[in-house]
């Protein structure tokens, strides 16, 4: 009897240790209504809204100050609101957010940072924001063309930000040591860039011209379109779409990268680099070029490069290479990959959206982007002068500067000149992609096909495979599920 009990206990413990589903319910209902009624916008009792976002932790002093400032500013504007910030466990945000939502306690305002996996469609918990946006003033003014397109395709996530894409940069002091750099910037053909890369290594003293964090995506931002990879799906002569990474253009591009790798122009350890070691290599002068998101990230690169190497080390954004086409990585408009959502179960949807609308306005953007007067900035002669504390303040609601009209003191601009330049260059040299949301029943096949591509690309660049293996890769890619996705693409892309 004892043996049987022990055996049963062992089975239970082994099974449960390996199983990590948590105690999901089989039935649920709307989350309890937080706060008061939607009608109470200007009443004496504030409307409580629950809010969850990445890097927005209730114990963070800056978050507390930002929340207080928002509440006071909105109250002065006739909207009496109380924001209750929900804690998120440390770890991968999308994973932890999923667990919060899974519990059934759905916040009024939810920030998704990728991985929302069509929550609005599969779980039906997100509000269609179209009617709210139509009635808005500030948000409407802050939407860029890509935002508008994405909202049309998936009107559940709102993200007022420039499309996030990698823009390559070089340090000015290193650029100056490579005479061909100026020519490459003026006429950025692939050949000129190749010459520039060689000079960076031979004359500017860097160990390698370019480094990336683990993948070739950042190189693609610079060279992809020049080889003809103008969209994810490329229309062939027969009128059918093929996945760009299985085409002749990809083969030529990978061959070029393999040449860079073989000649030591591409970091020999790029596959094992992480974002921090990549950036360190750049600041230390080991890598001549790295890529980062245009705008705020380039701003950070610029500030850190100067603080470590002096004013001469300011960063210079580089244009994408010119060839069969020219442009940074095409912009996916199938949906917002991240952004703010209003819960369908919220009893204060209007007020929740009012917070987003307020934050997109002039006063809201100053609180969000710049901080609190007397701390992150001071006012002098009607101009905003940033203090040292500004470095620790970052936007949580609106990253876009499309509708940002704060009166900045010229001595402390919101974004440095290279960051502004990167935004301008991206705007003028970006194109719309034709990628689409992969349906759930093809998700595992898409994952498998992508894994085949990534491995082949890494092996071809590092010389373990050659262009002669490309046809076999295409066959493997199709067999892994790529064919089914291609069939779907040909039905989906109009």
């Amino acid at each position: 009897m004892n043996k049987k009990l022990v055996t049963l206990a062992a089975i239970l413990m082994t099974v449960t240790t390996a199983c990590s589903t948590g105690g999901n319910k089989t039935s649920g209902g709307a989350s309890p209504a937080p706060g008061g009624s939607a009608a109470a916008t200007g009443g004496s009792q504030p409307v409580t809204l629950t809010i969850v976002s990445k890097d927005f932790q209730p114990e963070d002093a800056n978050v507390q100050r930002k929340v207080k400032a928002i509440e006071e500013a909105m109250k002065a504007d006739g909207k009496n609101v109380k924001l209750q910030v929900l804690p998120v466990q440390s770890g991968t945000y999308s994973e932890k957010l999923g667990l919060i939502l899974q519990s059934g306690n759905i916040p009024d305002l939810i920030y998704f940072q990728g991985g929302d996996y069509n929550f609005a469609i599969t779980q039906k918990i997100l509000e269609d924001l179209t009617p709210y946006v139509d009635k808005s003033t500030n948000i409407k003014a802050s939407l860029n063309d890509y935002n508008k397109e994405r909202m049309k395709n998936y009107p559940y996530l709102l993200w007022l930000s420039p499309p996030i894409s990698a823009v390559p940069v070089v340090r000015q002091d290193i650029l100056d040591k490579a005479p061909s750099g100026k020519e490459a910037i003026a006429n950025p053909t692939t050949d000129n860039y190749y010459k520039f890369f060689k000079e960076l290594k031979e004359k500017a003293g860097v160990k390698y011209a370019y480094t990336t964090a683990g993948t070739i995506d950042e190189l693609d931002s610079m060279f992809g379109q020049s080889f003809g990879l103008t969209s994810t799906w490329i229309k062939g002569a027969d009128g059918k779409y093929s996945y760009g990474k299985t085409t002749q253009a990809e083969k030529e591009k990978l061959d070029f990268y393999a040449k860079l790798y073989k000649e030591g122009l591409l970091d020999p350890e790029f596959l094992t680099k992480k974002w921090d070691t990549k950036e360190k290599a750049f600041y230390d002068g080991q890598a001549g070029i790295i890529a980062g998101s245009q705008g705020k990230v380039i701003d950070v690169y610029n500030t850190k490069a100067i603080s470590q190497n002096g004013a001469g080390a300011k960063v210079v954004p580089l244009p994408p290479a010119k060839g069969k086409a020219q442009g940074y990585t095409p912009v996916d408009v199938s949906k917002e990959s991240r952004g703010w959502a209003v819960s369908k179960t919220s009893k204060n949807k209007d007020m929740a959206f009012a917070v987003l609308e307020y934050m997109a306005g002039e006063k809201g953007q100053i609180i969000d982007k710049i901080g609190i007067e007397g701390s992150e900035y001071t006012m002098a002669n009607g101009k905003i002068k940033l203090t040292d504390k500004f470095a620790a303040w970052y936007p949580n609601f609106v990253e876009s500067i499309t509708n940002f009209k704060a009166p900045m003191d010229p001595s402390t601009p919101y974004l440095t000149e290279p960051a502004m330049k990167s935004l301008e260059m991206f705007t003028s040299m970006s194109t719309k992609d034709n990628s689409f949301v992969i349906p759930s029943d093809l998700a595992s096949k898409w994952d498998a096909a992508n894994a085949v591509y990534k491995e082949f690309a890494a092996n071809m660049v590092t010389g373990k495979k050659t262009a002669a293996d490309f046809d076999k890769f295409v066959a493997d890619w199709n067999a892994a599920g790529g064919k089914d996705v291609t069939d779907y693409a040909n039905k989906t892309i109009k």
């Binding site: 449960t16 199983c19 649920g28 994973e95 491995e455």
Partner: protein
């Protein structure tokens, strides 16, 4: 009369058992947190396993879909490769790493200098407390083809450098070696404690009979380690489908992913990051069933061959 004879001793036994429990009440109270932990975090989640058979809904009733997610899992083009990787990596870890803590404990026991022994123990236990992010960083530096100590050594003896981290042939060995480095010291504690528990009179008797250190080790110490060895091996077999999520996430790169992509990383990618909880549950349930089968098999084989098992 018969009934009186059979029930009376049982009553006495029951009464003395409760007396025994009462006399050990402090120990039982100490057991309560552990029982609560397992009940809340390990037994209760069994209820959630049924999600593998339902379409998960945050709001409203889950829709019963039968074996849909199992079919999806088994029809995934890379599923067989993932299972293969999981079994190969786990088996390598199980077979290669398992003897290391035992050998380490035996080695520690041979040290006569207590201070030196403690120092070695501390150094050996230390990696256990490091996260895989930190360990991966250390090993990346250690194995770097341009500046790493291993490749510097290879170059010093005239051999070409080798990029162990992007080579499909080497990466599994890197996983095994880094796991051994992290866990061998810590895992040796249980064996070292078992050695410390051996009655010293056995050693004295053996020395009187003319035994040397080798005889002591093979005839006295190793037989005493037999039961912890079998227990730990059996439990390790149960975890054979857990090839190491954190470790692999930190060591993976595009070039070697197909060699080290295991069930856990796949479930993490498809199930958790993409919020497909039912799919993730189905994969985990499959993994758990295999684990249970392996534990029971190992236990019964061990019982059959040696008359000793894990319980």
């Amino acid at each position: 009369m018969k009934a009186v004879r059979t029930t009376a001793p049982a009553q006495i036994r029951g009464s003395s058992r409760w007396k025994q429990v009462w006399s050990d009440k402090v120990l039982y109270v100490m057991l309560v947190p552990a029982i609560a932990y397992f009940a809340i975090f390990h037994v209760w989640p069994i209820y959630g396993m049924k999600l593998a058979f339902y379409d998960y809904r945050i709001l409203g009733d889950h829709e019963y879909v039968g074996l849909k997610y199992f079919r999806e899992l088994f029809s995934t083009p890379i599923f067989s490769n993932i299972i293969k990787n999981t079994l190969i990596i786990s088996a390598m870890k199980l077979i290669i790493i398992f003897p290391i803590p035992i050998l380490f404990a035996l080695m520690l026991n041979e040290f006569r200098n207590g201070v030196f022994r403690k120092m070695v123990q501390v150094v050996a236990y230390l990696p256990h407390f490091l996260s895989w992010v930190v360990i991966a960083g250390i090993w990346f530096e250690f194995l770097s083809p341009s500046t790493g100590a291993v490749n510097e050594g290879l170059k010093a003896i005239g051999l070409p450098p080798h990029d162990f981290l992007t080579d499909k042939e080497s990466i599994r060995w890197v996983l095994v070696a880094s796991e051994a480095w992290r866990s061998a010291g810590w895992d040796s504690i249980i064996f070292f404690a078992a050695i410390m528990g051996i009655n010293p009179s056995l050693y004295e008797a053996a020395y009187v009979d003319g035994a040397n250190r080798w005889h002591i080790m093979t005839r006295i110490i190793l037989p005493h380690l037999y039961i912890p060895m079998v227990t730990i091996f059996t439990l390790n077999v149960g975890f054979i489908m857990n090839a190491g999520l954190d470790q692999i996430l930190n060591f993976t790169n595009d070039s070697v992913n197909s060699s080290i992509d295991v069930i856990d990383t796949y479930v993490y990618r498809i199930g958790l990051i993409n919020s497909q909880y039912s799919f993730a549950t189905a994969a985990n349930l499959f993994k758990s069933v295999i684990g249970v089968i392996l534990v029971l098999s190992t236990h019964f084989i061990s019982k059959k061959l040696t008359s000793k098992g894990a319980w």
